[in-house]
Subunit: 234 residues, 2 copies
């Protein structure tokens, strides 16, 4: 449960600290198959990286050479709600209050335990991952709701088999582009089926029967003769 990554990808962590020793230390303890580290060694570099990298968490040192850390927090908060965890040697209460009120999410005083840092990172990620908008594909009368794995035509829910859904998802994720027969066969049935283009035709047919208003005149899944199929947008 703890620290589990449901996203099929790395969480990006941005470390903003001018001491390379700290950056190297964090790099060793945090670089694993869950986190991907980016580094910045000044406030301005950090601000730039926050915008370009779009990290999931920012670890920020307050004592930076160019900008004050508090200022960095404020500037980021002008446009982003990304969790900011302050790592600082300053242990005065005023510093903590100032950083937290400027928009920081958490404040750790150096030296800190690695386990605690990682637990606080996980806590911050858990909170911020709660409300991610759901990507729903829509084209004409066809709707594909990926998180719900729901396909509907004219608002009516349609029941797809696993293979049909995979096939539709493949076309949707490459909407507009032609997917060749071999690309589709490889992705869905595996290389062993490259010589069996028949299964593809059968499944396209079944899929069309379910999502096309008139399967003999496909609106969505267009045949590109001799090449493959293409999902048309509306």
């Amino acid at each position: 449960m703890a620290g589990q990554n449901n996203r099929n990808s790395f969480y990006k962590i941005l470390v903003v600290d001018d001491e390379s020793a700290i950056r190297r230390f964090l790099s060793t303890v945090l670089s694993n198959d869950e986190f991907l580290l980016h580094e910045a060694e000044s406030g301005n570099a950090g601000l730039a990286a926050a915008a370009t990298v779009r990290p999931d968490v920012i670890l920020l040192d307050l004592g930076l050479p160019d900008l004050d850390g508090i200022e960095v927090i404020r500037r980021i908060r002008e446009w982003s709600q990304v969790p900011i965890i302050v790592l600082s040697v300053r242990e005065r209460e005023d510093d903590k209050v100032a950083a937290l009120d400027a928009g920081a999410d958490d404040y750790l005083t150096k030296p800190f335990g690695v386990g605690e840092l990682m637990a606080r990172i996980r806590a911050a990620l858990r909170r911020s991952q709660q409300d991610v908008p759901e990507p729903v594909f829509s084209s004409g009368n066809l709707q594909v709701d990926f998180p719900r794995r729901l396909v509907s035509v004219d608002g009516q829910e349609v029941q797809l088999t696993p293979t049909e859904y995979d096939l539709l998802r493949l076309l949707v994720t490459h909407v507009g582009k032609v997917m060749t027969h071999s690309q589709i066969l490889k992705q869905i049935w595996g290389v062993a089926y490259l010589e069996q283009p028949h299964v593809l035709r059968v499944n396209i047919s079944n899929l069309r029967r379910k999502i096309e208003t008139d399967p003999s005149r496909p609106q969505h899944i267009i045949t590109e003769p001799g090449v493959g199929y293409r999902l048309k947008t509306y």
Copy 2:
């Protein structure tokens, strides 16, 4: 900006601590025109208060007479995302990690500065200005009361085993979405059971017998063949 209350009303803070001295201290420092304090002096009283009071923040001591604080966090997290700030004398890193991973948002070691506590409360409130979900789920003739762990069908209380309740809760918390077999197995039985999809089927069957009017025609727990299960809304 800092500490400003945009809601035309008090923020409700629930203090769960068995030492009346601490409660009185927090009451003095936090009771002002911004916060309204509620108090509970045991874990069970805290759980009950969390459900009835619906606080905006919970300040939780780990050393409670009846339940372990970690368990209190877990039980609250079963149905609520309310920010939980742990106040504890335990300063071992393991305690912090356990509390944070159980679902706590922050962890302060006693003694702490009042200013820091208030800043961390403000930070937690700032983040959680989202609407709190109802602690009771209702769909058709099915009702799940999370704080009380009570399930009823047609107003009639239904007795579920712990596993069945966990399973139902998982589906309810992801209502509408398809939970794949592996997601469910991982969450409830652990990764070791990924190759044992049979236990899942048996439990789904048992659960259906208890909550479905006609278990052979499920209204709530829908099978998505080859993929998983999904709780339908009405």
